[in-house]
Amino acid sequence: MSTLAQATPAAADDNPLRQVKARNGEKVIKALLATAAAVSVATTFGIVISLLVPSITFFSEISITEFLFTTTWTPLFANPQYGVLPLIAGTFVITIIAISVAIPLGLGSAVYLSEFASSKVRRTVKPVLEVLEGVPTVVYGFFALEFMTQLILRPIFPGIQVFNALSAGLVMGIMIIPTVASLAEDAMSAVPGGLRDGAYALGATKRQTALRVVIPAALSGIVAAFVLGISRAIGETMVVTVAAGLMPNLTLNPFEGMQTMTSYIAAAASGDVSTGSIEYQSIFAVGLLLFVITFAMNALSIRLVRKYRQTYQ
């Protein structure tokens, strides 16, 4: 027999734990936030659908194999051909040039700012970087065309074309440095000071601490910064439209002009293609390809980040 008194449920209104306040404000906030989240999800779906529908019509005329694996892109010719490889090559070459500038310089500035610079330098340089991120990209385009090509590249490589991939790639790289630097710096600043103290207390130098403790600890954030930089390079439109020329060109030679996927979309969309025509639909097909590539990049980066994630306590 239990000697413990059974708790008798009290009448509903003297329960001291009963809910008294309605807390409606909380519900409103929750609803607003949910709406905000829903809008961005819905927009993404909208984009996918608006890319998919014209693309499906496009691919009913042009086979996916022809689109992906043939080498001539001449949608506006009398006898149009839709082999997207020249655009992929242009995007690829310019992106590689851009990230070979942006990743080393961006990471270098981030390491300098987070580990070596005095807090005064950091406080001045960080906002400047963030302002640079906001310079309109068309400005960089003219900088590439007028300054980079004419004043720097021409004297060194006399044979370079007026519109060329090299100047567009280099300037795009410079343009992306602040993004990479700022994000990588955030990741490194978030590494707990205790880890640095631990390294210094073992007799490590600043360089050894930065390279062997801070960077590994911040790796997931740094990889994310790189991926964002690469995505920006792939998606960048104005610099290439202005400085790389608009000639689809299946080559890896950076001294020649090229067209990228983005600059094709910009040029075709602002030209006089008639709505519903196959040229018109090709814009969406290229857009869809761009979307798939960027999406794959981001998915890859999420996997990389998960793999290398270092959690702090």
């Binding site: 103290d197 631990g198 073992l202």
Partner: protein, 298 residues
């Protein structure tokens, strides 16, 4: 007025100590069964009027004391009295804080730690440090221990060294099959012992410990305390602790610090009393020491 008298008293008691005055001259017994003479014959650190500043703020004023070789010295005192600040000035960790500055004379085996030609990196390699929060690196257990020898380009058999240090840190048996695992997978107590293993891997001769057990449970604390006793045979250890029992249990000598408030209302840390742990805990000279260790103050 009271303030004045207290600081006079403090001066009085520290001069008493340096001349081995009226304190119990008979040797005190540290907890690991060694004779602790009143005076220190083998001096590792000599502090003469050491003052530490953060910018204009003087966090520690006029500390004069000596730290004896192969002894465990405990720093106790209320929060904010400058124990960590003073400890970090021993291996020049304060250099890393912008604006921090040390005045007075601080010698290590007779050499001025702050002389212009001294390399702080060399100082830190010889004087290791263990922190309150176990700051293991986001690397494998093995790489944590190997990090110091690698950055110091020590020519050693790394596998042997890792095993030796983990064994000395009483961790080997628990981790020997998981050396490649992330150090983050260890418990807090194991992490702290890993940090100690990492610290001794660069073969320092002093280990500074700033509240090494503050985030550990009693069992892990007991393990780290045992380890300290064991390490004291080969190393000189200075430990900051808020745990009076810990100071009494493990240390040979105890220094009690407190913070004085100056006329402008700013708190400055100062050394009140320093001596063999047994004397400090059984017959303190200064009433503030007695109040603190008996829990009436701080």
């Amino acid at each position: 007025m009271k303030q004045m008298r207290d600081s006079e008293a403090a001066k009085q008691s520290s001069s008493d100590m340096s001349t081995t005055g009226r304190m119990d001259v008979a040797a005190s017994l540290g907890s690991h069964g060694r004779e602790i003479p009143e005076t220190i014959s083998n001096v590792v650190f000599g502090l003469d009027n050491v003052q530490v500043f953060y910018g204009d703020f003087q966090a520690v004023r006029d500390v004069s004391m000596q730290i004896g070789r192969n002894e465990i010295t405990a720093f106790i005192g209320p929060s904010g009295c400058g124990k960590s600040t003073l400890l970090r000035s021993f291996n020049r960790m304060n250099d890393l804080i912008p604006g921090a500055r040390v005045a007075g004379s601080l010698t290590y085996h007779g050499y001025d730690v702050y002389a212009p030609n001294v390399d702080p990196i060399e100082v830190r390699r010889r004087i290791g440090m263990v922190f309150q929060k176990p700051n293991v690196f986001p690397k494998s257990i093995y790489e944590n221990v190997a990090y110091g020898p690698k950055v110091n380009k020590m020519k050693v058999n790394m596998d042997d060294l890792v095993e030796e240090c983990l064994t000395r840190a009483a961790l080997w048996d628990e981790v020997k099959d998981d050396l490649k695992k992330s150090a983050y997978a260890l418990s807090g107590g194991q992490q702290q012992r890993l940090v100690i293993a990492r610290c001794i891997a660069v073969k320092p001769d002093v280990i500074l410990m700033d509240e090494p057990c503050a985030s550990l449970d009693p069992i892990a604390t007991a393990k780290v305390e045992d380890l300290m006793q064991e390490l004291a045979n080969d190393y000189t250890i200075v430990i900051v602790t808020h745990n009076m029992q810990q100071a009494a249990r493990v240390s040979d000598r105890t220094a009690f610090f407190t913070a004085d408030v100056d006329s402008a209302g700013v708190r400055h840390g100062r050394l009140v009393e320093y001596g063999p742990t047994r004397s400090i805990f059984t017959a303190p000279n200064d009433p503030r020491t007695e109040d603190y260790i008996s829990g009436r103050f701080g």
